[in-house]
Amino acid sequence: MLKLDGLEIRAGTFSLSADLEIERHARIALLGPSGAGKSRLLSAIGGFITPAAGRILIDGHDVTGTAPGDRPVATLFQDGNLFPHLSAVENVGLALRPDLRLSRGDRNAAEAALDRVGLAGMGARKPAALSGGQQSRVALARVLLQGRAILALDEPFAALGPALKAGMLDLVAEVADETGAILLMVTHDPEDARRISRQVILVADGAALAPRPTQALLDDPPPVLRAYLGDARRPG
């Protein structure tokens, strides 16, 4: 369970408050206008920015002051999810040993994770020798191996084509189910939300609102979301 207890994020004139709870196994999309603070909220949960006030609790533990690597959060960023000078299997192996002193067993586990995301036999390749979609899969394999309680996605598939993105989102949903993680996903596209998230947190006007069912929210959006979505609300 993730609890944001009176959380305040400030940077210059920007401010965002969040006071909400997210259940285990939840799959949640963060939706809202650009600059509303979706990514910042995710960064605060991941430990990359320090909140001005409030607490972040994961399964009852206060992690507000915990270093990013020590939090039960795995984050996939927009870019830079892989080290280009390390092979795929090494990138995945970092989930087990941040110092990369991998045992035979660690290496096998990393290979197995690559296998699971459909990259069997590609462990020796460096990211430059992989396509964009394959690179995303390597990062997902690492997340799978990390087995953290929260999986935070900051639009990691924004650069992929629609079909590839849909496939990756399905894979993400599977990974989240397998690890039992809470899935938090920033997106600009209501279709992404419909595809894998059961609930939506609306981030707008300086606040992140409590999660609401995706279908209901998108079918009858509040004015701020309606303005943001425009015609994208009812595709096809």
């Binding site: 690597g69 830079g80 941040p98």
Partner: protein, 518 residues
């Protein structure tokens, strides 16, 4: 970035900065303490100050003025080998001063090529010693730097402007007024100031081509007070003057120097439609040919003169070469252990006082630091026994600003690109250094190491103060051979020095770049 968690701690960099500061301040402090309050500067000291400023002004103005047509030609011409030539413009920076001096003597000296040509026409030979020799050598070293700085200013003009100018039918005159002159005006103060600052503290040129009451710089006067008279009080007093003058010049240079003034790649293609007239073509071709000849001929002379004697070099030269390589390597290791943590701290903090610490090397004169360290060591032990370690330390401090310029932008990229990922995976400190920073920064580390190794290899500064007959580096050995009029050995040793300096740079640079992918 400040305030956010970082995978690297700023502390080692702060320790490195404080160590550098401590060495420099301790040296300055020793100099100040030793300078006798009663004995103010005498007429000879004022003359040294006047000559120092005069030669630096002349060198700066000439270097920059001559650089303008060359840079203009490079800016508006595309031809095969252009990139190579621009890269070669960086070479004098690595070139040991003593090697260039021998080359310049072979071309412009009394019995050099130019004098021989003049002799054919029945004219007297040229005289290279004195003010004009010092200025000639300084122009040789700083013309390429000025060309690069000015070219950088011009290449910063977006190519769309030139397209627009071409579309509006602007000729060379209009392009000059509309585009070239405004960009040049921005680049000129920085170029003038940096060349001025470099020439103020240049020592080896004055040592070899200057001298005598009419051509003595402050640095040379410090050396003479130290070596010939062992008048530590006077050396200290001169050092104080030098610190004041060079400090002011350095600050002015830093405040006017455009960003990334020592950056490499200057070959961004900007299409130019102006200057297509035959006259402009001829002028540009002449400018590039003249500059290339001026820079290449002395090097060719060293190679031609040195080759025959290289097989029969006396054993002391080989010994000195070994010593120099060891000093260069020690200096490089020290440099990297200072520059890497310092670069990390600067990248984390973005701005602050740390950057200026790295730049102490630009303004501080090696001879002043050397004098100060001598004063500090003298009561404890025999300073001459520590000549080589002191040389290595001073060379590392001198190379620090250049190393930081190479390392900091790369370090910022690494932290921006991979800092969060490293943090989220729990990589911190040594682990992040080993797995991320060192592999990602290999090319920049190799370049910085090569730069330091080459500069240290060719350095003829502190070692001239400290060395006794048993301990000589290769540049000092070349200087001694010159002083003994053993020119053939000197030229051969200079060639060896040239090969070693460029070889060390090449090895480090190549080593950093090979195998560093994506």
């Amino acid at each position: 970035m400040a305030g956010h968690p970082q995978p690297l701690s700023p502390r080692p960099g702060i320790i490195a900065a404080l160590s550098v500061l401590a060495v420099v301040l301790a040296a300055f402090g020793a100099v100040l303490w030793r300078a006798e309050p009663g004995g103010g500067p005498g007429p000879a000291d004022w003359a040294a100050l006047r000559f120092t400023v005069l030669q630096a002004v002349l060198s700066a103005v000439l270097s920059v003025a001559l650089a303008i047509p060359v840079a203009r030609a490079f800016a508006r011409r595309r031809f095969p080998g252009r990139g190579t030539l621009i890269t070669l413009l960086g070479a004098p920076f690595l070139l040991p001063v003593i090697v260039a001096i021998l080359g310049l003597l072979a071309v412009f000296g009394r019995s050099g090529w130019l004098s021989a040509l003049l002799g054919l026409a029945g004219l007297p030979p040229v005289q290279i010693y004195g003010l004009h020799g010092v200025v000639l050598a300084h122009v040789f070293f700083n013309l390429p730097l000025a060309v690069r700085l000015i070219l950088q200013g011009w290449q910063a003009v977006p190519s769309e402007r030139f397209r627009l100018a071409a579309q509006l039918g602007c000729g060379p005159r209009e392009v000059w007024h509309l585009l070239e002159w405004p960009a040049l005006r921005r680049a000129l103060p920085g170029a003038l100031a940096i060349v001025f600052a470099i020439c103020l503290t240049s020592f080896a040129v004055a040592l070899t081509l200057g001298g005598g009451p009419r051509a003595t710089t402050l640095e040379l006067a410090i050396y003479q007070a130290f070596r010939f008279d062992f008048d530590l009080g006077r050396a200290a007093m001169l050092s104080c003057i030098q610190v004041a003058v060079a400090g002011v010049a350095g600050l002015v240079a830093l405040s006017t120097l455009p960003e990334g003034g020592f950056g490499a790649g200057l070959d961004r293609p900007v299409e130019r439609w102006d200057g297509a007239t035959p006259g402009a073509r001829i002028i540009d071709a002449l400018a590039i040919a003249a500059a290339s000849l001026f820079l290449i001929l002395p090097l060719a002379a060293v190679i031609a003169a040195g080759l025959p004697g290289i097989a029969s070099l006396p054993p002391p030269v080989w010994r000195a070469a070994g010593v120099s390589v060891l000093v260069a390597l020690a200096s490089t290791v020290l440099l990297l252990s200072l520059a890497l943590p310092l670069a990390a701290t600067i990248a984390i903090r973005r701005r602050g006082w740390l950057e200026s610490i790295g730049l102490l090397g630009l303004t501080a004169s090696p001879l002043v630091i050397g004098t100060g360290l001598f004063l500090l060591i003298n009561p404890l032990t025999d300073p001459f026994a520590l000549a080589l370690p002191v040389t290595a330390v001073v060379n590392a401090v001198m190379a620090l600003p250049f190393a930081l310029r190479a390392l900091v932008p790369g370090m910022q990229d690494v932290l921006r690109g991979y800092g969060r990922l490293g943090l989220s995976l729990g990589m911190q400190g040594a682990g992040f250094w080993r797995l991320v920073v060192l592999p990602r920064l290999r090319p920049q580390i190799g370049f910085a190491a090569g730069l330091c190794a080459a500069l240290s290899m060719g350095d003829l500064g502190v070692i001239a103060l400290f060395a006794d007959p048993e301990r000589a580096t290769l540049p000092l050995q070349v200087y001694r051979l010159m002083g003994a009029y053993r020119m053939q050995s000197a030229e051969a040793a200079a060639l060896l020095l040239l090969v070693l300096a460029f070889g060390l740079f090449w090895l480090c640079d190549k080593g950093g770049r090979s195998g560093a992918e994506a």
